[in-house]
Subunit: 166 residues, 3 copies
């Protein structure tokens, strides 16, 4: 099933003990900022900044990109950074995230779905020229000791994927 | 006129009696979530979830899609759900909503404008292959008895519409 | 360097004296609304509304659009309005802004980065047919006497730009 166990159930807010009102809104704002920085650091190739949006034990799950590659599952912030830097370090990437659905599962954890669109332009000589994807990030966030909310699990699923070759 | 009576007047916040500070921010967050679920449920074909984002007396107004169809006006949550499910139940849809402008008109009602982009890919054999639209949702929301904010009026207007046929 | 001195440093919130908790969230919401109105008023050609999102002393910096034009630096709200109205008054424009990173630099000033996408369709007879850009707005905002947050500096930088000619 699309999104699997991270598929959200309702348009209504899910409330949890210990996180409501102002505290909940502050956590939502920090979660949005963390995802903003995920996109910004990847697209501007700030790989140290990119690694910092994740918890040390983050798990990344990405599907095949339709370019002969396989689906991947990567564990750990430094391994995720290396995986993504190797994949798109020399690719012009632009990532857009829209309209999150945020469900807190405790005062320090949340499930989040982002509608996403990514547009990639590969360098001359690459097997493909452009990639255009549309789908969702199904994610989990955790507040860590420095107070920031970081991504602890990312599962990308796509509804549509188009790859072009000049 | 584009947006008609729902065209917003100012970049400044419009404040109303009885909804300010924290209460206003909580209502804004719920309105954003409701629209997120509108897009998410339509694009993942969760039609029960889709119906639930609307008030029972919702009105949907959509323009022609440039595919020989006519503009439509549909009343009632179950009729809206049927109309949309019939139209795009077997179409790959992706809806993006951006940068809402939210004006409360009372403590339990709001006018909202969302910048929108929709990209549709039709199944083999359909009269058209893809549709790409850009414009705005001019909407009204109302807080109902369960505390959630639901869409009570949707008027879609487009600035640009492109339909392709392979 | 991309973004120059306005490049944000961290995924964590930057806090400043005198603006925290509810006050910070209210300012964030107003900043988002101001940018929403920037896009909305430009795309619907409400040029009075467009001018009002800026401080009187705003500075706009835009790169070349790859159409034989030069990078521009424009000072003052009325000059910015004239510059943009002259450039796209008869062009179908759609501007999307995503996932802001907002750093307050005082209780009444903030640095903000927006991921952006713009899609332009020029009228018949223009030198080009469409323009498609992806990049970031690096901006500064200031709260003015009427309480609203306005844009005091806009610097647009693009990661990708494509211009087509039929």
């Amino acid at each position: 099933m699309y999104g699997s166990d991270l598929y959200p159930k309702t348009h209504c807010e899910v409330t949890v003990d210990g996180l409501s009102g102002l505290d909940r809104l502050l956590a939502i704002e920090q979660i949005k900022r963390t995802k903003a920085f995920y996109c910004f650091s990847m697209d501007t190739k700030d790989w140290d900044g990119y690694q910092n949006v994740f918890t040390d034990d983050v798990v990344l799950e990405v599907p095949s990109h339709g370019m002969g590659d396989e689906a991947a599952r990567v564990e750990g912030a430094s391994a995720v950074r290396k995986h993504v830097e190797d994949a798109v370090g020399n690719v012009v990437t632009t990532h857009e995230c829209h309209t999150p659905i945020i469900d807190f599962t405790s005062a320090t954890t949340a499930n989040v779905v982002w509608a996403m669109e990514d547009m990639l332009r590969f360098p001359a000589g690459a097997p493909v020229t452009t990639l255009h994807g549309l789908g969702h990030y199904f994610e989990q966030y955790r507040q860590v000791d420095d107070g920031s909310w970081r991504i602890s699990h990312v599962r990308l699923e796509r509804l549509r994927l188009e790859v072009t070759k000049d």
